[in-house]
């Protein structure tokens, strides 16, 4: 039942050029090509270095607080009346989301490369906070680029980053959200390439970022796989995770890709609904193109201009998606579905009230779809949902919708 094809195709991507089938690659200006080559070679060396791995494992255990629990949401499952639902509790990590798994790893790379300055882009602010946190701990100078619109939506996280000693730079170009923050981070990197490490927060960007961010996030799926075997005695029937850039999803999915019995669902932000064009669901409603260093599915208009996106959650408000997801969609291994703003909001309230766990609005998209899926399954089956972050940061957004101001 748990057939694991060891030399499966999934272990063979990306190839040496950073391609996942037709996707990925290195679409950047020449100035950055040598920095990417250096990063790739350092990463290849350190990922095989037992001392580096030990350092990373210690940080994950004692600083991040791993392993994160796999929690069975019994009351919620009973209410839905279908499959059992387990939550992978990435919200319990230090800083409150899965993002820190990756920033700890990349900051260690920065340290080994002798870079004294780190930069990051952020949408919801979780990756920015996770970067500012590890920069504070390692004594690195930290600059976080954040769209002006997101600075407004995520004021709490902006202040957290400032408390941690980071400089938050509001980005006023374009749509003033995550994609524009990424443009500005790239511009900063090209200007300070000698002393700066760019800590990308998702499995997008030029090679080797989609590879190394995946590797750092795979701790989620490795733990979940072992916990399923231990707590449920078998592998799950389905995995569900939200997909913006797709780092929490790839982290959960990847260690299970060879397990043919495990179905996978990546949940994109449906915003006001796919039909309204007010969404952030490139895998469901986009077409392939090139943005931010890689070829992938994009939300673009008839002239190849990148479109403005909409999602209730800043962390999913991105017009592209990691190239590995684009490939997994095309080969049919993962199902990419959507949950709209209102469904995510309902799931936020439900989990808070029924389980006493307040999920991030990003993760609420995964929860909304999981509830739909579980209802169609039997009580003999079980689902693992990646609860990628906690919802404290979203309280203002939720309150605003409820007409409450503080």
């Amino acid at each position: 039942m748990t057939s694991k094809t060891d030399d499966s195709v999934f272990a063979m991507v990306p190839d040496a050029d950073g391609r996942f089938g037709a996707y990925g690659g290195k679409y950047v200006a020449e100035t950055l090509m040598s920095a990417l080559a250096e990063l790739e070679s350092v990463y290849r060396e350190l990922s095989a270095d037992s001392q580096f791995q030990r350092e990373l494992d210690e940080d994950l255990a004692h600083y991040v607080g791993r392993p994160s629990p796999l929690y069975e949401a019994r009351r919620w499952s009973d209410d839905i009346g279908g499959a059992r639902i387990f939550l992978k509790r990435e919200d319990l990590n230090h800083t409150g989301a899965h993002k820190v798994n990756n920033t700890v790893g990349q900051a260690l790379l920065a340290k080994h490369m002798g870079k004294r300055r780190v930069i990051a882009e952020t949408g919801a602010g979780q990756h920015g906070v996770a970067t500012a946190t590890i920069a504070a701990r390692l004594g690195l100078e930290c600059h976080v680029f954040m769209g002006e619109e997101d600075v407004r939506r995520q004021a709490l996280n902006v202040y957290r980053m400032k408390l941690l000693g980071a400089e938050v730079i509001p980005v006023t170009s374009g749509s003033r959200t995550l994609k524009d923050a990424m443009n500005e981070a790239m511009r900063d990197w090209v200007t300070h390439v000698d002393d700066t490490f760019y800590i990308i927060g998702t499995v997008a960007g030029p090679h080797p970022y989609p590879l190394l961010v995946r590797d750092f996030q795979c701790v989620i799926g490795r733990e979940a796989r072992a916990q399923c075997l231990q707590q449920a005695g078998r592998l799950p029937d389905a995995l569900v995770a939200c997909v913006g850039g797709g780092s929490n999803a790839i982290g959960l999915f990847h260690p299970f890709l060879g397990d043919e019995s495990v179905a996978m669902y990546g949940v994109e932000a449906g915003g006001h609904g796919i039909a309204t064009a007010q969404h952030a669901a490139p895998l469901n409603a986009g077409t392939p193109g090139v943005l931010h260093g890689n070829r992938t599915y994009l939300m673009q208009d008839d002239n190849g201009q990148i479109m403005h996106t909409h999602s209730i959650s800043a962390g999913l408000d991105y017009p592209g998606v990691g190239p590995e997801h684009a490939w997994l969609k095309d080969i049919g291994r993962v199902n990419y579905v959507v949950a709209n703003d209102d469904e995510a909001l309902a799931a936020f309230h439900t989990l808070t009230r029924v389980e006493g766990i307040m999920p991030a609005l990003e993760s609420s998209h995964a929860l909304a779809y999981a509830a739909r899926l579980a209802a169609q399954m039997t009580s003999e089956q079980f689902i693992v949902v990646n609860l990628s972050g906690r919802g404290d940061k979203d309280i203002h957004t939720v309150a605003e919708i409820d007409g409450i101001s503080f």
Partner: protein, 263 residues
Amino acid sequence: MSQQGRKALLTYVVAGDPHPALTVPLLHELVASGADIIELGVPFSDPMSEGPVIQLGHERALAHDVSLTRVLEMVREFRRDDSDTPLLLMGYANPVEHMGHAAFADAASAAGVDALLTVDVPPEEVAGLNAELRRVGMDNIFLVAPTTPEQRIERIVAEASGFIYYVSLKGVTGAGHLDTQDVARHVGIIREHCTLPVAVGFGIKDADSARRVAAEADGVVVGSALVDAIVGAYGERGDGGAARHAAAELVGGIRRGIDQPAS
């Protein structure tokens, strides 16, 4: 480029900025003022290598919905009165990808485009596009940067034609820390690896910086300073005549600067 010792002047404007109706007259004005090669920016929603001045140029053009197709129409119109001045499109991968390599090559060459420079398509990613450009006889211009290792220059040269575009500094367009000695050293290294002419861009803003860089290269590119001068003169009133005049002044001054014998 660089005929009879004369150094080439390349002028960059964003197609459709500040207004689509001004672009073709502006291009003729640039040529009349001493530009040897027209570099026409294709507006893109996410111009990652541009500094603030040219970013805003892209945004102004996109406010008028200037698509790649519209840019090619402008080139066709320019060609009615100027069939000689070399014209290259400079932009980002996605609009070209979206049109399709073959369709782009056919449409661009029919419109009278001589060359393409896509900032975010390095030699590693260019195979499909280059095959189509070669088919229609268009040049593909590549960047060499201060961070490009010497052994990598060979790889770039293998894909390049027309000329090599040396990026004079680590940074985005319009940055202000040009180091002429460093430029001279890098241009020297590039020349050891290829016979193509070398043009230098990024950070050249006036006659003096142009003259200093031209002494070391076959051509110089002026972009941000020109875009800034044009939009400044165009102003809130939308004065196209003033914009053309400002462009002519700046380009004329730079032309005289680079034609001066090096002191």
